[in-house]
């Protein structure tokens, strides 16, 4: 089954990257096909594995400040800033809908 345009649009929204062209969409199709092979494996009663170190306790340290005060260094890499703020364009504005967006997907 092919991935629907709705899902493709949804993915572009979630990922904030675009498919760019037909090749990009086909790449996803092939990736899904490839991944479908997983369903050949019987995993009844098998617990998912998050980490190979699951048998060990996570290391906790004392709640002491050991580093910081590096605002100046960290700000140096930002392109747009004001005093100690990173400057972003206005938020709470959703990405344009498919019809209004400049994207490869049909419907735009």
């Amino acid at each position: 089954q092919k991935v629907s345009v709705e899902v493709l649009d949804h993915l572009e929204h979630l990922a904030l990257v675009d498919f760019r062209d037909l090749e990009g969409v086909e790449r996803l199709q092939k990736a899904i096909q490839f991944a479908d092979q997983l369903h050949e494996v019987n995993t009844d009663g098998v617990e998912p594995m998050d980490s190979v170190l699951e048998d060990r306790c996570l290391y906790l340290r004392e709640d002491d400040v050991t580093e910081g005060n590096c605002t100046k260094e960290l700000m140096e890499n930002a392109r747009e800033k004001v005093e100690e703020y990173f400057v972003a364009p206005p938020g709470n504005i959703p990405l344009p809908k498919l019809e209004e967006r400049e994207t490869f997907l049909p419907g735009s």
Binding site: A35, L53, E76, N77, G91, P94
Partner: protein
């Protein structure tokens, strides 16, 4: 000291006795980097800082107080490790011009021991790929393309072929590091290994490539791809050197909570003479489709080598091997989708001029900053993480991961000490042939033999074994038990001694190396 010498055995002594100075070593390497520029192994060469570090090292040697074996030793670092004051690009437009404010822990450890950082090596963009062909700075060329050994075999081909287009790939994604070590421009290099990215180029470039146990070496400062599988990788010209590097890098790091707290004691490798107590496992599933008959034969010969030396060599089974690459594909793209989310242009890296809204700025920045491969993986990852797909793909893959890891546990529990497998399906492909297929297809093909070790978190090492019929390196892989690097490297060292892999014969190196050009025995193994 010749550029070919082993660190512990020869170079260190030469430096202590003053037969060569750190500055001389550094200058020789820098000159060689310049004359091998066509390999495109380096993205950034930190000439000034390297010479300064070399000078400081020289002062220490003069006072008779070197910091250790690595003091004054030129090394290179893959460009996905943060290096303070030096550009770190990950071979991507997204990080072009990004100057790290800090050193990755492994880089800091090397510098603390006096190592001289020559520069940052080339890779596939964000370490995604198996050819080192997909970075924004262009592909890396395998030094063996220019070796006497390869050229001799190519003479038989049609003369009308342009020599320029004949060059072969390094493999990837740590191709720049492998090429740098292989062409003698540094004594050791750091790579990273998520699906085979250190062992694959090591095999194609004829160098030792070590993937340590997950949790042994800190990932702090290594720009992450797959947090549950990434490890820093070590590339050197001999197994002893890999042990030296491991000794200086391993150990708990409070800044990386995935490093284990066990005490790590650096070790010197014994000169094993008796392998009769060893049990070597040959996993039958690693006879994968597409494995070249040449490599199959070498693998078989290697097994016989151990058998004839008295070791127990048995066929074993890792039944879920063929699903490892599929599992990796899902888990990798899912983690990538998450890890790449940090690149939005606000705090560092490329930022688009788009100003309409935060979301559109993020989208434009990522559109401009990432190449097809990266975008493809992000989109696939997001697909597998969709609510309707999460159980079906992501959790399913996590379950399959456990089955793969358990396969290894069972085999090691049955008394096998080390597994012996091929590292790659064939020798290095010509660039023009390699790029006929897309990145995802190639990665799926090329990672097949290396990937499972990352899945299970096990240590694995590529040892250069012999030259192929085309005159190119072929390596074999040893996989060991968790945190048993000493045993793994001891066996690898024994094997290295048996096979006597030939030294690459490069014109450029001959000119720069005023050490005696040792007459090399021909490869006794092929």
């Amino acid at each position: 000291a010749a550029l070919k010498d082993g660190l512990r055995s020869q170079v260190s002594a030469a430096l202590k006795e003053g037969r060569v100075t750190p500055t001389e070593l550094c200058q020789r390497c820098l000159a060689l980097i310049k004359s091998t520029k066509f390999l495109n192994a380096y993205i950034t060469v930190a000439e000034e800082t390297a010479l300064k570090q070399a000078e400081e090292s020289e002062e220490r040697y003069k006072r008779g107080q070197p910091l250790g074996i690595l003091d004054g030793i030129p090394i290179s670092v893959k460009d996905n490790f943060n290096t303070a004051g030096i550009e770190t690009t990950c071979a991507s437009n997204m990080l072009k011009g990004y100057i790290s404010p800090y050193n990755a822990t492994v880089v800091q450890k090397l510098l603390d021991q006096g190592a001289v950082l020559l520069g940052k090596t080339n890779l596939d963009e964000f370490a995604m790929g198996s050819g080192s062909t997909d970075g924004v700075f262009g592909p890396v060329r395998n030094p063996w393309s220019y070796s006497k050994q390869y050229k001799e075999k190519s003479v038989l081909k049609s003369h009308s072929e342009d020599e320029e287009s004949d060059w072969v790939i390094t493999g990837g994604s740590s191709g720049g590091s492998a090429a740098a070590v292989s062409s003698f421009t540094c004594f050791a290099a750091l790579g990273s290994d998520t699906g085979g990215s250190t062992r694959n180029p090591a095999a194609h470039c004829g160098v030792v490539g070590l993937k340590p146990t997950y949790g042994l070496i800190s990932r702090h400062g290594l720009i992450p791809l797959v947090n549950s599988m990434d490890v820093p990788g070590i590339l050197t010209r001999c197994v002893d050197d890999a042990a030296v590097l491991l000794g200086s890098l391993a150990g708990h790091d409070p800044k990386d909570s995935t490093t284990v707290q066990d005490d790590f004691k650096p070790f010197e490798l014994p000169n094993l003479t008796d392998v009769s107590k060893l049990s070597i496992g040959i996993p039958k599933e690693y006879h994968a489709p597409g494995l070249s008959s040449e490599i199959l034969a070498l693998w078989s010969k290697a097994a016989d080598l151990f058998k004839n030396a008295g070791a127990k060599v048995i066929e074993v089974s890792l039944p879920h091997t063929r699903y490892s690459i599929v599992c990796y594909h899902v888990l990798c793209t899912a983690e990538v989708a998450s890890n790449m989310a940090r690149f939005d242009g606000l705090e560092y890296g490329h930022r688009s001029d788009m100003k309409d809204s935060t979301e559109s700025m993020y989208a434009a920045t990522r559109r401009e900053g990432f190449n097809d491969v990266v975008r493809g993986r992000i989109l696939s990852g997001n697909y597998f993480l969709l609510k309707q797909n999460y159980e079906k793909y992501f959790v399913k893959a996590q379950k399959v991961r456990r089955l793969i890891a358990n396969d290894f546990v069972k085999v090691f529990r049955s008394g096998v000490d080390i597994l012996l497998t091929p590292t790659t399906l064939s020798d290095a492909a010509p660039y023009t042939e390699f790029i006929q297929e897309d990145n995802r297809t190639r990665s799926a093909q090329d990672d097949i033999l290396t990937q499972a070790a990352n899945m299970a978190g096990l240590p694995a090492i590529n040892v250069p074994t012999a030259l192929s019929e085309r005159g190119l390196p072929v390596g074999l892989q040893f996989i060991g038990r968790s945190f048993q690097e000493k045993q793994l490297l001891s066996v690898a060292k024994w094997f290295e001694k048996q096979v006597q892999f030939p030294v690459i014969q490069l014109e450029e190196v001959k000119r720069h190396d005023n050490g005696v050009f040792q007459h090399q025995k021909s490869a006794s193994f092929s």
